[in-house]
């Protein structure tokens, strides 16, 4: 009677111990790849109108509340959100939005942007919606990193001192790309 069992290792088959070691090795690699070091979100903010300044700030502060490490890279008109003075007078465009209760021919008249902006600001205040400044300060307090694109700072002729305290300057597309590559969520607004 043979003492061989069907489970007995042959010369070319790995032993149970070898397989167990290999499983451990793969589990470690998986843990490293998926990273239990916390989630990340990267947002690129390119717009500076009052309505388009909200989404990146709302998502950034909310993600920070979830424990995400958040980076928001501001470029072109998105820089105005970080600009201490300009962020307080962001405008809502009265033209180009067919949902606006005005025909474009009227909306294009001088001063109409000011009218629609004031209407929106009143709604924001009446609804107790947070202001842009409040959302920005809250996000900074929560550790969100706001970056101001150096190329567009120079292009728009802004000064680095014009931005809120805590805003990172001196960064470019490569920094943004690196953040996006590392992030679980990437958004262009």
């Amino acid at each position: 009677m043979s003492t061989d069992t069907p489970d007995a290792p042959t010369d070319d088959a790995p032993s149970r111990a070898e397989l167990a070691a290999r499983v451990d090795e793969l589990e470690d690699a998986l843990a490293e790849a998926t990273g239990d070091d916390g989630k990340k979100m990267s947002i690129i903010a390119t717009k500076g109108t009052l309505d388009m300044a909200y989404p990146p700030l709302i998502l950034a502060s909310t993600a920070a509340a979830f424990g995400y490490e958040v980076t928001v890279f501001h470029t072109f008109w998105g820089l105005d959100i970080l600009h201490e003075e300009r962020s307080k007078r962001l405008k809502l465009s009265s033209v180009g939005n067919p949902n606006m209760p005005l025909p474009n021919a009227v909306a294009a008249l001088p001063g109409m942007d000011r009218v629609t902006t004031r209407m929106m600001e009143k709604r924001i205040a009446d609804n107790d919606t947070a202001s842009i400044e409040e959302l920005l300060e809250t996000s900074l307090d929560m550790g969100v990193e706001f970056q101001a694109c150096q190329m567009t700072i120079d292009l728009m002729d802004y000064d680095e001192d014009d931005f809120y305290d805590g805003v990172t300057t001196g960064v470019g597309a490569a920094t943004a790309l690196q953040d996006m590559a590392d992030a679980d969520i990437q958004l262009l607004v």
Binding site: T62, A65, F66, G67, A130
Partner: protein, 81 residues
């Protein structure tokens, strides 16, 4: 309802709208010790879904209960770690 557990702190975010109820809840829970319960009072109807989602997606917190009152939405969140 709150007879079964002690509330360590109450956060009043009545009047505030999205994203402030969640953002301020996160700030308030950070100040608690593990095991303590935070009561959140909100008027934003979206807070029912938002605080539920936030608690489910955030490590170290647990939604104990939500209660829809006449005008106020009450949320009870425990800090677990």
């Amino acid at each position: 309802m709150s007879a079964e557990y002690d509330i360590a702190e109450t956060l009043d975010v009545k009047g505030a709208s999205c994203p402030m109820p969640v953002v301020k809840t996160k700030g308030a829970i950070d100040d608690l010790a593990a095991g303590e319960i935070l009561e959140v009072l909100a008027t934003d109807s979206g807070s029912m879904s938002d605080i539920d989602g936030w608690a489910a997606g955030t490590a170290g917190v647990e939604l104990v209960e939500q209660e829809e009152g006449d005008d106020v939405y009450k949320h009870y969140v425990r800090k677990t770690e």
